[in-house]
Each structure stands twice: as structure tokens, then as C-alpha cells.
Amino acid sequence: MDVEGSASDGSRQVRVRFVTKLRAPSLRVAAASIAVPSYLTRMGLSEIVNLLLENANPEHQNQPFDFLVDGELVRMPLDQFLLAKGISAEKVLEIEYVKAIVPKKQEDPCIHDDWVSAVDSSNGSFILTGSYDGFARVWTGGAVCTHILAGHNDVVTSARVINRKGHEGENNFYLATGSKDRSLRLWKFDAAEHVDHPLRIGAYKILPGHTSSVQSIASDPSSEMICSGSWDCSIKLWEVNGSEAAGDTVSIKKRKLNSTSSESEESQLEGAATSTLLGHTQCVSSVAWPHPQIIFSASWDHSIRQWDVQTGKEIRNMVCGKALNCLDIGGESSALIAAGGSDPILRIWDPRQPGTLAPVFQFSSHSSWISACKWHPRSWFHLLSTSFDGKVMLWDLRTAWPLAKIDSHNDKVLCADWWKDDSVASGGADSKLYITSGIEIH
């Protein structure tokens, strides 16, 4: 009741009504409007909601909330916010509250032998990481390294789980990795088998063809194709389940050439690229394949290009002025392009807006290059970005400030991904994979 008490000290008051979309009835407050002092910040509002909830339910545990007014997160005192947004303080203000994001750091990170360069945690049961020591690893449950994918001769730059649901049964997964040894490798692994020590597995298929380091891999939604961007300025498309006969012939020819380096890889198949998309003039640093017919690519030649898979033609070319390192497609109806590069600004474009190439959002809280960005798989508003300044930031499109900063890493963060919708797995130059949980997005 100190809310009413503080209201009498002569400051301005705003009549507000708290609403929520939270399902749990224990987190819903009465719809009646109350007067609150206008100087309240997020914390004050949170206290009020907690008080109201405690009045209704004595066993309520205090927890922080975040507040939305007209679809914008409140990040300053309420009166300033209303002034800035030009909202009248006379009317009853409807404030939606959601659970605030309080990242919980994982105490013991997954320690790698070398820098963690790639992470894919699109499957909830395990996390796939690629490392500078040339191995890709599978961390089951995000804690134990169960499988080591050995075979690359150089840095694994990209790792991707091709089929998220498990193509052949529940626990068989196809994985793809790209490396600086100019090849991609496809792996099969069974998540069901339990082992005490990490199991080394070999690639079932090698996809050589790039003439320079492979930078990025993306799989198409139907999990039948993958595409890869490389330092040789090209994007190549590969079939995951190509005809084995064709692959064999290629493999024999190749094996003769690099007879010195090839070891006992008799069981491995080799595949060729089905098509190559040419157009970029510099390293293709990131590719994304959000729709079966569309590939997006970002490059160091300062452009984001959109390709039509069927024809292999370039549909769109957006020039952004900076060398780009990362790209992801998501957000509202999976149409927004988020990209970051050689400056500390994370930019988001809406390609549906005609006639403009200006980014619709720019987030500039980082202090160094942005190394990775990733949209939340469910939410339209949330995305994360990692930077060489050692921070992972969570962004909400509804506010210009980062929702949360994760600074577990003490060196450059190179990669990050969402895991199980409420956690973030991030790997960096400190050779650690941190999993930060407690990020509930609603």
C-alpha cells in the first residue's frame, strides 16, 4: 500500500490499467485501473504489479516484469516515456506486462580445445559446435560432449543440423559442417546411443568444390539441400542425399590427386555441387535459406543478395556500405533481414518496403564488429547478436536498448544460437560455449 502513500507526495499521477497475455492465472491482476506516480520506472511498475499479485495470492513469488505501452518497451520513467511518445497522460494508460528477461548464466561452460567458431542448437536435445581445432562436437543436453565429428583438416567455420525433426526415425540426425579446408562434410549421428566417453565419428560424405574457405552453411527448410558461402565469392548448392554412384566416380578422381593427404577414407562418399550462384565479388560470409526458393547471402562486398534457387539468378541486391559478417532472416512473417558486419551496428532491413534500402532498425550498443546475429525462432521481436567486444546482446524490436547483455565471455564472441526457445548458446575465442538460460520470450 505504499503505492497509494507515495501517490500523495504531490507528484503527477497517471491512471493505468495493467493487462497481460500471460496464461498463468496466478500472474494476472485485476483489470481495475489504479493511479500511479508518473516518475515510476520499470522497477517501480514491477513492484506495483508484484504487490497487486501478492494481494490476490499471498503465495506469490516476487519476480521482475517488463512493460509495454503501445507496443514499445518502457525503458525510462513513465512521464518521460509518455512525453517522448506523445501519449496523453489524461486517459487511462493500458500497460501490458510481460515477464522480464533475467539471463541466468551457466556456471560451468562447455570447454573446447580451441576457439568455438560455430554453434547450432536448433534441436533441443543437443548442441552442435564447430571449433578452430578442426572438430565439430555434439553436446547432448548442452552439457556433455558425446560425439566428436573428426575429419576436417582445418578450422570448422560453420556447423548446421540439417534435419531438425530427425529424418530417419527420432534420433538420427544429419549434420553438415563447413571448413577452411575448402570442403563441406555431411555427418550422420544417432542421438539415442549413450556413451561414456566422446565417440568419434567420421563424415559419410565429403563435398569438395570450393576453392577457398567455406564460411557459412544453410540448409533449406525441407532438409534436402544445403548451400554454402565461401571465400571464393561463390555460393554452392549441394544435395544432402545425392545419388551415390555419381558421388563415387568423383571420389575416385579426387583421391588420386590428394593421395598424400587422404588416409583411410574409403568409406566416404564425395559429392559435387548441384549449382553455383555467382555474383558476389568478395567473400560470401553468411547465407540463409528461409524459404524453399529463396536464398539470402551477405558478403564482404557490402551487399546482401537474394537468389532464386530455381533459376540461380540474383533477384535483389542491397548495398549496405559495410563488409557483412552475419545474416539472418526472421521477425515478422520471416521477412526481416538482420545483418551485422564490420561496424558495431546491427541493422535490420525490411525487403518488403518498396523503393528504400534504408534499414528499418539500427541497434548500436555494441562496441566492435558484430560476428553473429540470430532471430528467435518463435518471436517476431527478439533477436540476439554477438560481437567481438565479448558481449551477446538480446534485442527487442520494440525498444532501442538491448533487453539483456550477456558478458560471460572474456574474449571475442564468434557465434551464438537460440536453444530450446529460452536459452542462448554462445561460443567465442575463449574456447568456451556458454549456455545462458532463463530467457523466456513471450
Binding site: W115, L257, C283, S285, W300, N325, S342, D343, S368, S371
Partner: protein, 696 residues
Amino acid sequence: MKKEIPAEPLSDESKRSDSTDPSEDEELSSYYGEDGEENGESGGESDSSEDEVSSLDDAEDRGTNGDVIKSVEESDSSEDEVAPRNTIGEVPLEWYRDEEHVGYDVSGKKIKKQARKDKIESFLAGADNVKNWRKVYDEYNDEEVELTKEEIKVISRLLRGKTPHAGVDPYAPYVDWFVWEDKAHPLSSAPEPKRRFIRSKWEDKKVVRLVRAIRKGWIKFDKPKEESQFHLLWTDDSNAADNKRHGVNYIAAPKPKLPGHEESYNPSIEYVPTEEEKNAYQLMYEEDRPKFIPRRFESLRSVPAYDMAVKEVFDRCLDLYLCPRSRKKRLNIDPESLKPKLPSRKDLRPYPTTCYLEYRGHTGPVKSLSVEISGQWLASGSTDGTVRVWEVETGRCLKVWDVGESVQHVAWNPSQERPILAVALGHDVLLLNTGLGDAEVQMRIKELLHVEESKSSEDTGDHGSAVRWFRHDKYDGIVLKHFKSVSTVEWHSKGDYFATVVPTGESRSVLVHHLSEKQTKNPFRKLQGIPVSVAFHQKKKIFFVATKKFVRVYDLESQRMIKKLETGCREVSSISLHSTGDHVIVGSREGKMCWFDLDYSSKPYKTLKIHQKDITSVSFHRTYPLFASCSDDCTAYVFHGMVYSDLNQDPLIVPLEILHGHTRSDGRGVLCCKFHPRQPWLFTAGADSVIKLYCD
């Protein structure tokens, strides 16, 4: 005139009388005689009967005749204008005493004397006529005049000493028209007299005189004003007019400082130093101590003589005498207007501004950098004896070669097919296989870097043991052993030829090597000066050799010197070639950077004096219009250097950014700078063993 006028009638009369009528003379004389008698009678009368009239008569008699006439003449009243009957004028009446006439009337006829009355007759007449006393005898006209009553009154008033007319009141009360008391304003209500509005006669005359003088040209207008001989003693001498007077080179002495409040005999309390302050003055150095310490005096009377007076005047004189005064030429030009019109930096983006990445790992000063042609890898050589290859994107150190000796220079082979790194250290040049590139490339490189021992020995025989080619056992490459220490190694853009510089090699100081043939040539046997750096032209067969003062340009085909660029610097430290090959920048050890346009002249097109200390490296960007220089003062400068294909248009040079960030170590700052081949990024290598990447 008045005297002459009676003379004429006198002469005439006398003639006439003498000649024509002597009888008249007799009459006249008798008349006069009678008259004299009569006079005496009348005087007796007056005594007896009427005092006033007789006295009047006496007065008239006593006064000269001239007086009477005069009074007649001078009277301006209308009554007196009755002309006298006699016309003889103003002549003594004695002349007519003996005549029978007294004179002539207007028509010239003689006026006969009247018969004289004797005393009895006159007495009788006086007894008969009561008014007889009023009669007055007019001797001039020889008639008796009866005075009127008014005339009598006037006479009687005059006799009593009164004004002739009774109406005049000499003692009338005085009417004071003016107020004589003092008023605040001396206003007068008196009407302006008429004379104020009328010019006087003298003024008229003066005007006439002036007009005449002007007409005759005696008065001249617009006379040049004569300058006064005297000048103001206290004016400021610095103005131009005074200088003209004193001569052009005269410089006025500076004014001594005027006394202020401090020098007052009774200054305000805040000017007077306290005892503590005075004591503090004693601790100061002589020259810092204030010359004058203000003191307070009750009155001017108590002020003592100023003991410094003589000394100050003497000092002042010394100053004026000994201190030469010179005129400072100051241009009165707005300095902003002198700046060249440069485009805004915003329009020249992108260019490197901020350091985002650091490449850490070296333990000694990083002497040299080289970026692989694709821009993916960066090689660096350090004095700690290692050569490192870094991943540009992440700052990851990919490979380390411990060569065991301070590395002077590293250079990537510019060909993408040949990922070979040339390293200059000590007497050796190493050609290292970086292991990049795919399998086919690797195979070819292995073949390329295969040297047979026999071959190398042949080489030594041919070239006087300047260079020997050996296989490097440890790193599977080639080592070129030079006879003296090597400072620089530069590749040709095709990646097959490379040149090394042996600064102390004299006639064998610049050597050109052919990689695929494994041969060494020495085309510059007669090179003068100590070579510092070399560069290959990208397209033409032209070779640049920078010595300490000159840059020599050689045509490799005809094997002769085309051009000799005079840098004007004391010691050239580095040279960089524009991608077109027509422009060269040269950095020197005194901090100067020269831009040469080869089509333009052998003199620098622009010389930029920017760095405080030695320029260690200069670099052109391959594609962007950028160039940079770095120096031992721990800074790197980035410039916009636009080269136009139009030959008439000069290159545009705009300074863009000063990049700080490196720290000084052992007196060295930034040792090398190189541009990323495809991005507008600049790598700088510092003596603090860090490599920094500056991005746009």
C-alpha cells in the same frame, strides 16, 4: 565756402559802389553813424523802461551780426523761411553806413534807408503806442519788427533759463521701459531697432570693396591649407601621416606604460601587498620580482621623492636607444580564405576511422605487414624472430614460423595461385609455403619451391656469390642467402619475379630474382646511392628504386633509366606505387611525404609535412582512392588521394583521419601500415608488438 560767398558780392558791391553810385556810399555811412547813435539810445531805453527787451536787444547787438544770420539760416522752422528783404548777404553792415541804402532787394533794387527817428519821436511813439516796446529794430533789413506775444513769451522764458516752449516739462517723471532687476534670463521686450535690419553705409562700402577685389582677382578662394608647423605632442605616432612626415622607415617609439591604480599615491587597499606577499617577493628571482611595490600615503605632501625616477628614465632611454625596432609585415587576410577548398570528409567515405580488431601474439616490435591478395590473410614479421599469419576476419593467429632472427620484411606473393610468403631476415630471404590454397595449388607450389643443391651451386658461380639458392629444410621452402643483410623484398604483380634490396651491397644492392627459373640477376650495377626500397610497376615493365634522396625509374626492357625523381628529402624511408602506376608517394625520415605525378614533373606534385617524426611506411590502397602514412610519432594518417584519368586534372589530396592507438616503445611508434586489398581498412603494426585493424 561761407567766407567766399560774401567776398564775391563784396567785390561786386564794392566795384559797383565804387564805380556806379558814390551817393549811396554816403547814405550808408550816415546810416551807420546813425545806427551807432541809435544803438546807444536804445541801450538807454532799455535801462529805463523795459529791462527784458533792451537786454535782448543788447544781446543781439552784442552778438555779431553773423550770429543772427546764422540763426536765421540754421533755423529749420517753417516760420523763419520768410526770406530777408535785404540780399547783401553776410557782409559787415559798416560798409553801408555811409550809403543811403542798406542793401538790395530780390529784384536788385536798392533798399532805401528809412528816415531816422529822433529821440523825441521815439519817445512819443513809445508813449502813444503801448506796444512800442515790443518793436525791435532790424538793422540788417532796416526795419522795425514787432514781436508777437508768443515770441515775447519765448524770449522771457529763455531769459529765465527755461525751455522756450511752455509745453516742455524737463522734469517729467521718468518712465522706465525696461526692468533692471536681474532675471534668470536676460530677456528683453524691447523692440528690435530698425538699424538692426538695415546694413550700414560702412558695410555697404565694405561689400563693394570685397566685390571689387573678387572681380579683380585679389581675393582667391580654395586656397590650399597650409599645414601647421606644430604637431600634437601626445597623439599616437603610429599613423601613416606621421610616418610620411618622418620618412617611410621611421618607427615610432613605443609608448611607456601609463601609470595605473597601483602607482597612485593612495591606491585602493587591494593593490597594496601585505607583508606576507612582500616577503614572498624577496624569495622570488630578481627578474620575477615586481619592480614597483605600491604604498599608501595620507596625502600628496607626504609622498617622498621617487628614488627610481632617474633609473627608470635611463632605462627607458636605453630601451629606445638600444632596442632595434623593426616593422612587422602582417598580412591582413582571413586565414580561412587561404585554405584550399576541400570536399567534406563525409563525402569521401569510406575510409578507416576506428580500430575494431587487434592481432596480438608477437612479443617484439612488428616490423612488416603484408596482406594476402584476397584479403583473407595477413602476414606479419617481427623482431622477435617469428613470422605469423593471421586470419583478418577474427584476429586468429593461424600459423607461426619461428625463423630465429629479426624479420625485416614480409611480402605475400600477389598471385592468388601462389600463396607464398617472402620473408627478409638477416642475410636471408625465405620463401615460405603457407599451405593455403587447394590441393592442386599446393602441388604446384611444392614443385615451385623445390630447389636442387646442384642448381644453387651453379648460381653462385654465375653471380659472384651474391645470392645462393638453398632448400630450407625446416619449413620446406627456399632460402636465398645473400652476401649481406637484406632489408626489403618486393614481388612483381605476376608473382614470378621478386626484387631484394641489400642496402650495403654497393654494385650488387638491388637484385631481381626469377622464382620459376630460380635465377638471380643484377641489372643495377651502376646504381648511385644507397637503395632503400624498390617497387615494380603493376602493368608496364618499369622498376622503381628509391635511394636516400632520389627515386629512379628504370625501364626493364631497354635497361635504362627513364626518370629521376627529386624528393627534396634528406632520407627516404619508403615508397608506394599507385595502382595506375603513374603516381608515387615517398615517405621520408624527416616526416615529409611527397606525391609524385610521373607525367607531371620530376619534382613532387605535393609535399605534405605532417608527421613529427620519421615516416616509417607509406601505402596506397589498391582500389579505393586512399593512401596512408605511418610514423614513429605513434600515428597513422589517412588521406584521400583521387587520381583522375583526365590528364588536365590534378590529383585531389585531402587529409582524412589521424589514427591513434599505438603506444611508443623504445622510441619507435608505428612501423608499418598496409591497406586491406579490397576493403577500406588499414592495418598498422606498432613497436608495441600489436597489429591493429582500422575499419571504416
